[in-house]
């Protein structure tokens, strides 16, 4: 039987103020990249902190590659970049990474070779000899990534790894994560940057108010929600109700200034939008539009972004927010 990289069963942390997370059960396979999403204050960081041994669960169990969380054996398997952290300001960046290498038990000769390489890779380079107090927030985040990776761990927990980085830095971090994934590392990614999750992760879970709301394959989530847009010339509002009645589908005017301007005038082209299951339905709607004597200029598929999925998933739900 294959041991999961991360396996949590009913993991719960209840704080006196009602915060924390409840009954979280997930399984992440070896070499998988897992995205953990949720609004602020949903309990994502609490869950990760339990997995890395910073806080003790109220109930439930979890294992990392078969080792119970909080044990030294499980800590040897992980690299962790916390969301809110600061390194010792009186050390240089290189000394911080060396300290973490020592605590991870990395051999001195290996560390001597690996540390400069890592500092280069995360974009710190020669500034590794500067004291951490002179680092910007982005530099500290890069340093955090180097510390998380210095022990060459099979599982990497990253809590908002690029929140303080500029677009170039974000791209570099994404490249590093892609490389880690290619090396077969298990990546657990807590991020508000949904494009990172979308680009990198195989599976994901959505946490709200401390509980898993949805989970599944990223590709499935995005595929089932494919929308199509039709640019129609000579559109009249009558066509919309006729199409809806005839097809039984929910076809709407696409949002956007150009689209609505066209619809209001009742003359020029406008965009219609519908969620469709397959391309056969697209062909059917095409024929219906042409059948009504209108011109079909363009048909495009609009693959739903994870951000929209996230917004849809949490909209209308009560969530406690950062300050509850």
């Amino acid at each position: 039987m294959t041991v999961a990289a991360i396996e949590a069963r009913g993991l719960t942390k209840q704080y006196d103020n009602g915060r924390g997370c409840r009954d979280v059960t997930i399984q992440v396979g070896k070499g998988e990249a897992f995205g953990f999403l949720g609004p602020n204050g949903a309990g994502k960081s609490t869950f990760v902190k339990m997995l890395v041994g910073l806080i003790t669960p109220t109930s439930g169990t979890a294992n990392l590659l078969g080792e119970p969380i909080g044990t030294l054996a499980s800590k040897r398997l992980i690299g962790y970049l916390p969301e809110l952290y600061r390194y010792q300001e009186w050390l240089s960046g290189e000394e911080v990474v060396r300290l973490h290498a020592k605590l991870c038990g990395v051999d001195r000769s290996v560390a001597r070779h690996r540390i400069p390489q890592l500092l280069e890779e995360v974009g710190i380079g020669r500034r590794g000899s500067d004291r951490v107090k002179h680092y910007s927030k982005g530099m500290q985040q890069r340093l955090g990534l180097a510390c998380a990776l210095v022990g060459d761990p099979p599982i990497v927990f990253l809590d908002e790894p690029s929140s303080a980085l500029d677009p170039i830095g974000r791209r570099e971090v994404r490249r590093i994560l892609e490389r880690l994934k290619a090396q077969g590392k298990t990546i657990f990614l807590n991020s508000h940057l949904l494009e990172d999750v979308e680009a990198l992760c195989d599976r994901m879970a959505l946490l709200n108010n401390g509980q898993i709301l949805r989970h599944g394959q990223v590709s499935e989530v995005l595929q089932t929600r494919t929308r199509w847009r039709f640019k129609v010339g000579g559109f009249t509002p009558f066509l919309l109700s006729w199409l809806n009645d005839t097809t039984g589908l929910a076809i709407t005017l696409a949002e956007g200034a150009a689209a609505s301007a066209g619809a209001a005038s009742g003359l020029s082209a406008c965009w219609l939008e519908a969620e469709l299951e397959d391309e056969e339905q697209v062909g059917w709607i095409n024929s219906l539009i042409v059948q009504q004597g209108m011109t079909l200029y363009e048909v495009t598929s609009v693959r739903e972004r994870l951000e929209e999925w996230f917004m849809n998933a949490v909209s209308g739900l009560e969530h406690r927010g950062e300050r509850g």
């Binding site: 902190k49 390194y87 009186w90 991870c104």
Partner: protein, 290 residues
């Protein structure tokens, strides 16, 4: 653990805590030199007379008491302020969140930090102890019994692990700022209790007043034994038991009176107090959510 211990030394050196302490100590010793010089000006100049020897010992004792009065404060505050925010402060800043997921037992981290602070504190105490003795010796006379000197140094330095253990325990319970206030108040209470104990004898108070007062100061010294330990340190330094007939320690120096000297049982209590604070602090830290 060695990594953490070295990190703690580096922290105290890089943050210039030790440098600042040493600079202020140099200033204190300079002032102390002049005070000691002034106090020894009118000692009768007949080295062969018994009065000369007694007077010189009395003056030397007074100068030493003065020096250690300040010295105990410095050692106590160095111990408290170097360690009061070690857990709460680092957790609030986020340093702990990056370090604690590493494969190192929390108990080893705690012990490493404790040893780091204690070793530097004890070394500093040795430096200060020697400097005070040296300055006094230049101007007057100091006891030269190595056994007595050793015992009194160990007692002088014993407040370092005691205060650091309590400060680290508090740091696992309170916020950094809260623990700073708590430790200052606690040490202050111990000092005040000792002071009341010293002066109450000379106020000529009725037994009805003295008894409850003694009870209160006794309880205070149980809560914070540091001041009582310092009194015992001075009594060991001056071999109080042997010299009491020759030198009147109580009437000469009210503030530094050595009337009530803590017993050996009290020293055992102080040792248990230190160990208990250390163990409780470690247990608390092992279970603490960061």
């Amino acid at each position: 653990m060695t990594t953490i211990l070295v990190m703690t030394w580096k922290e105290l050196l890089r943050k210039r805590v030790m440098l600042l302490t040493l600079m202020m100590t140099a200033l204190f010793l300079l002032a102390f030199w002049f005070v000691a010089d002034t106090l020894s000006l009118d000692i009768p100049e007949d080295p062969m007379s018994g009065d000369y020897l007694i007077e010189q010992f009395s003056r030397g004792s007074f100068i030493l008491m003065l020096g250690f009065f300040f010295g105990s404060f410095v050692v106590a505050f160095l111990s408290i302020f170097s360690s009061f925010s070690v857990i709460a402060g680092e957790a609030e800043q986020g340093v702990m969140q990056a370090l604690m997921p590493r494969p190192i037992p929390r108990s080893q981290w705690y012990l490493g930090r404790w040893l780091g602070y204690v070793s530097l504190g004890v070394l500093y105490a040795l430096l200060l102890f020697s400097a005070i003795l040296l300055v006094t010796d230049v101007h007057s006379n100091v006891p030269r019994d190595f056994g007595a000197l050793m015992k009194s140094y160990l007692l002088f330095a014993s407040t370092v692990p005691m205060l650091i253990s309590v400060a680290m325990l508090g740091s696992g319970i309170f916020s950094a700022l809260g623990n700073g206030v708590f430790m200052t108040m606690l040490y202050g209470a111990g000092w005040l209790g000792g002071m009341i104990d010293k002066v109450s004898g000379s106020l000529g108070l009725d037994e009805l007043v003295l008894k409850p007062l003694n009870n209160i100061t006794g309880i205070i010294s149980l809560i914070m034994p540091s001041d009582s330990i310092q009194r015992r340190m001075l009594s060991e330094l001056f071999s109080y038991d042997e010299m009491d007939g020759l030198v009147n320690f109580s009437s000469s120096f009210n503030l530094f009176s050595l009337d009530r000297i803590p017993s050996n049982s009290f020293l055992v209590y102080a040792a248990i107090y230190t160990v208990a604070a250390f163990v409780l602090g470690m247990l608390r830290f092992r279970r603490k959510d960061l």
